[in-house]
Symmetry: D2
Amino acid sequence: MKPVCLVIGAGAGIGGNVGKRFAAGGYHAVLCRRSDEEGLQQLVAEIEAAGGSATGYLLNAVEQGSIEERVAAVEEEIGPVEVVIYNLGAQIGDRPLADTSYKAFEMGWQLATFGLFRTASAVCPKMEERGKGVILVTSATAAVRGNAGQHSHAAAMGGRRMLCQTLNAQFSRKGIHVVHVLIDGMVDAPDTLGKMLGPELFQDLRKQRGGEQDGLMLPEQMAETYFHVAHQHRSAWTHELDLRAFSDLAWWNH
Amino acid sequence: MKPVCLVIGAGAGIGGNVGKRFAAGGYHAVLCRRSDEEGLQQLVAEIEAAGGSATGYLLNAVEQGSIEERVAAVEEEIGPVEVVIYNLGAQIGDRPLADTSYKAFEMGWQLATFGLFRTASAVCPKMEERGKGVILVTSATAAVRGNAGQHSHAAAMGGRRMLCQTLNAQFSRKGIHVVHVLIDGMVDAPDTLGKMLGPELFQDLRKQRGGEQDGLMLPEQMAETYFHVAHQHRSAWTHELDLRAFSDLAWWNH
Amino acid sequence: MKPVCLVIGAGAGIGGNVGKRFAAGGYHAVLCRRSDEEGLQQLVAEIEAAGGSATGYLLNAVEQGSIEERVAAVEEEIGPVEVVIYNLGAQIGDRPLADTSYKAFEMGWQLATFGLFRTASAVCPKMEERGKGVILVTSATAAVRGNAGQHSHAAAMGGRRMLCQTLNAQFSRKGIHVVHVLIDGMVDAPDTLGKMLGPELFQDLRKQRGGEQDGLMLPEQMAETYFHVAHQHRSAWTHELDLRAFSDLAWWNH
Amino acid sequence: MKPVCLVIGAGAGIGGNVGKRFAAGGYHAVLCRRSDEEGLQQLVAEIEAAGGSATGYLLNAVEQGSIEERVAAVEEEIGPVEVVIYNLGAQIGDRPLADTSYKAFEMGWQLATFGLFRTASAVCPKMEERGKGVILVTSATAAVRGNAGQHSHAAAMGGRRMLCQTLNAQFSRKGIHVVHVLIDGMVDAPDTLGKMLGPELFQDLRKQRGGEQDGLMLPEQMAETYFHVAHQHRSAWTHELDLRAFSDLAWWNH
């Protein structure tokens, strides 16, 4: 039986590509995303066509019990979750305070902070019992610095980062490897950046900075590092690392 | 008419003492706390006995609209809020993940993160219009590092810190001074530390580390620094500073 | 006998103004700078005209034994050094690696890092014996992030910051208050910014951003905060704080 | 012709093991260390026995011109340096300020900061011309927090970290990948930890925390991560990551 890699937030960007990478590396990928059943099934099909195995679920992470029930069902029906990729983003673009509703602020927290807490609450007891497990958390620049218009996003991601540290503090010695992956740049992802910019701007940006220029981060390449850290020997674990394109400045330089 | 200093979280520790300091410095102190009407009125009486002026309100900050209505009423009935002291804590002691309920996790966010967002949403438009204002935010070590058992507190305070940075990024140039005060140690405060430890342990600790030993942070002394940074000239503003007792190690050393 | 405030790097910007502030606050200011005897004597004269007391010395800090001998002489001839303001800068402007000579790199370290180590080695034993003392260290954005062209400056200031933390870790509980003051912006100082930009650019900048605009940091205002933290009660000490103009972005936002 | 991986500081711990890993991965390893010709030749022999290729040199890094000449000679005689592993440590154990000589303080800087600057000055122009190169810098907890007794080490490592950031800011877009690897724990290395503790304590520690317990970091495992980051696609580069044993607390938790 293959170990399970559960991806929460398996769109066409980081989540989907990390799922593919783990499937290629011998895992059964369980792919969860909020919408787009068609895209989800296509992802499963691609993984299977490449000789891997995967299952896809639509999952509304902010719905009460949704993550918890999915974890329980996967553990019972598919197998032990060895790796979780927590990949829900909460970027809503730059909005001044006056344009950031209470609802938008709370939604950021639901997706970026509370959802991770619920996920950890569901998987950590099982991983602790088994003495091993990996939780890879995709994070953002906003986790380490607040910028204008990022009220919701930065508060949510700052909370996410501190939560990763508390999880690590409690569970590292129990064999659970928690990793905070700080994505410091724009990812070539149609579902997130693409939606935020709209199709035209996104294609323009890809022309200018994508492909050979590598100015957009390529999710299939990022996936290699996710896979690597998930397989570090336990005497040499990484808790935090950043990822950005060579052509970009680090967040502390702009 | 005196300028108003609004203290949200005006217990017998930092909040109350900062309120006193601003009252002594010419402000009308508006003191809000969740419970203990008697303690609240005593604080008001002490300020008045010392020649200052103050008003006290019981305020349940997590109640919908509570902060917003209080701000509106103060602005209308008392005067423009020039300084806000956001002093709600969210420390619930060290609890393993399994003992941290969803409710406790959410409560941390309500008090430490969302409450500040709501407060800022209420006061910033007024301060921006007037071209000046100060928001002093009491924060904790947990805002910069997660420690075992601090799942709720660290996530909440990490979010608070990033929110302070986003507020600063938007409002500093509008004349609003946002300060993140990182309290890195135990405060000699009966309402918070006292309640967490219980009366006996708290008195023992005070004997060992309080008073002359200065091993507990004295809130009336901390208040001096709150008052100072609130009055820095706008060409030399502090956004973040730490406070700890001389006898204590910095958080990065233990 | 007045307590002594020793300023190492007492030009017309931060150092001189902090010296004035401490003199006004009851200290005998000992002002040391590398050159400009005339400017130095003028500073002493201004302090005396305002009713304070001061002594000025030319001091080449990179000269072997220079700081050590000055400290010893001051202690013997004037009185115990209660406060040290270590204010030597090491900014040489942005230079690509190829234009940063070994000598320039070493000079940065000499001024920013090693000079502070030598100063601390000279004053800490005396302060420890007396059970009190304050070391205020002026630092820069480069202490927390390296930027293009800042090879020498950032390495030197990064070392300075870590040195402040080690000094604090050893000496805080002995009653020595070490403060790392992170200056995150351009200071209205003819000796440093003025020299770096040249007189014309400097005057242009002052017209655009100085005076009423407060876009340049006013050293006489910064001095108020230096004086405040030097007099915090030992139960509530600040180790690190930042200072910037309200009109400027924080370093993490640009 | 194989690409060259130049290791400065190739002892029996991280440096030697990283050298082996790169040799196994198709590089010609150039191994430099200060002393122990025998150990050096044994390392070369091991690499060759495993089918790799390597050359060893004794190199006194603090000697004027030593690094520069070695880089030039390697480029001329062996081939283009594609990867540099800068692995010189500067830990001298905990020493109070009074026991930290000026010489010890300077030596820390020479090894940890200036040596890297000299190395970068030698290799960056060549790497920039070729449009690619990797500089992996082994660093330590002391780069991010000063602790009691770490006066020399923390100042040196703090400078090293900021230097890595300035190098990255200038050279990343030129195709040079600079990585700051923060080693946050004790490494199972006879040359460094072994020498610091002495043979008996070191063996005791290995019994308690080594091998199966994985409480000491295993350098051959750390080498896997060095190799991985050196081969990240340029659209997804890591600049900073930490490494510690699962059984250890992160530096911010103790």
